[in-house]
Symmetry: C2
Subunit: 214 residues, 2 copies
């Protein structure tokens, strides 16, 4: 039975699968816009970049952009929050997969380091253009980053409870781990001498040294 014949026999099912496809299409188009906007902001800086330039790069129109984002500032906000949102999602995923606290921590550090490498451009833009964010967006992203620190602190704490590491101040150390991970964007850019794998390995090793794990 083909999909369309199934749909004909079950119009309600067809409707619901359309609803299922739609968010995927929206997500895809938003992602395409963000990728192109990120390249544009990275190259020209946020203030010099215009929505016309962005529409041109996408062979689209400004109204097309407005279907997906309220404006240039909403695009910047989505770029700036991508890294931390993906990192939090990775922590959720790993929470389900790994059992031992130390394995959770190690897997989390590695996945977040990989996200930072993959989102290099987005994170450089966040660092550069932070002050161009709307105040509410800037605060929302800071809260997400704070949540990330808390969750890493909790992971370290669980390792301490488990006897796997000894750290006097897990919450304090999580902030410096955040610093090491963020430093990846200064150590790696696509095409740089050091490979992504090498930088991820070094960053994870450095984080683990901070909490005295080999």
């Amino acid at each position: 039975m083909t999909k369309s014949s199934a749909a004909a026999k079950n119009p309600a099912g067809y409707e619901s699968s359309l609803r299922e496809i739609k968010p995927g299409v929206v997500a895809y188009k938003r992602a395409r816009i963000l990728a192109e906007a990120s390249a544009l902001f990275y190259e020209k800086g946020y203030e010099s970049a215009t929505l016309e330039m962005l529409a041109d790069r996408l062979s689209a129109t400004k109204p097309f952009l407005y279907t997906y984002f309220k404006g240039k500032s909403a695009i910047l906000s989505a770029i700036c929050e991508a890294g931390v949102k993906e990192s939090l999602a990775a922590l959720d995923r790993i929470e389900e997969i790994e059992r031992r606290p130390i394995d959770k921590l190690k897997a989390s550090l590695r996945e977040v380091a990989e996200i930072i490498v993959a989102r290099h451009e987005y994170l450089v833009i966040y660092q550069r253009e932070m002050m161009n964010l709307d105040r509410a967006d800037a605060q929302r992203i800071l809260r997400l980053r704070h949540e990330f620190d808390l969750r890493i602190g909790k992971l370290i704490d669980d390792c301490v409870q488990d006897g796997a590491v000894t750290v006097a101040n897990a919450a304090g150390m999580s902030i410096w781990i955040g610093g090491l991970l963020s430093w990846i964007i200064h150590c790696y850019r696509p095409g740089s001498k050091r490979s992504a794998e090498m930088v991820v390995d070094q960053a994870v090793a450095a984080c683990l040294r901070l909490i005295a794990v080999d």
Copy 2:
């Protein structure tokens, strides 16, 4: 004998003491301009800030600014290079004072952390406005930062030779130490909850943990 009577009796000496005073005055005025420019760029962003605004804040004129700097871009460059130049000068100073490699390293980390706290605003501007630097300035500052990494790597290496620490890759580790120190600007701002002393202590402790020194 007053200074002026000494000068009258010794015109050559007077001349030379004037020459000695002059650089101090120039340095003072340049520092005043940089401090005010830094506050202005920090508040408004480099692109929105103008030399007129800066002159106003200093109750001075644009020609006064041009006596000390070639233009807005030269002021940005001086702000961006201040932190790393002062850090390199601190390493030179400590090289002369301390004898044991591990003491040199510890003193260096602490002094550099203190410079970063003191230069918070300058370093935030460097991070934000990097792409507005003239290409040659940007490269010069990167070379200075690279020199800093090399010198920290050398200090770690000396500690390894001395048997004080065990690090497989001193040069590699110096880059992550640079990352931890740079992270200070995200952990501390004047008036923030954590005190400058606490952040400096934590940063130095984290750096030493990286090379397994308690």
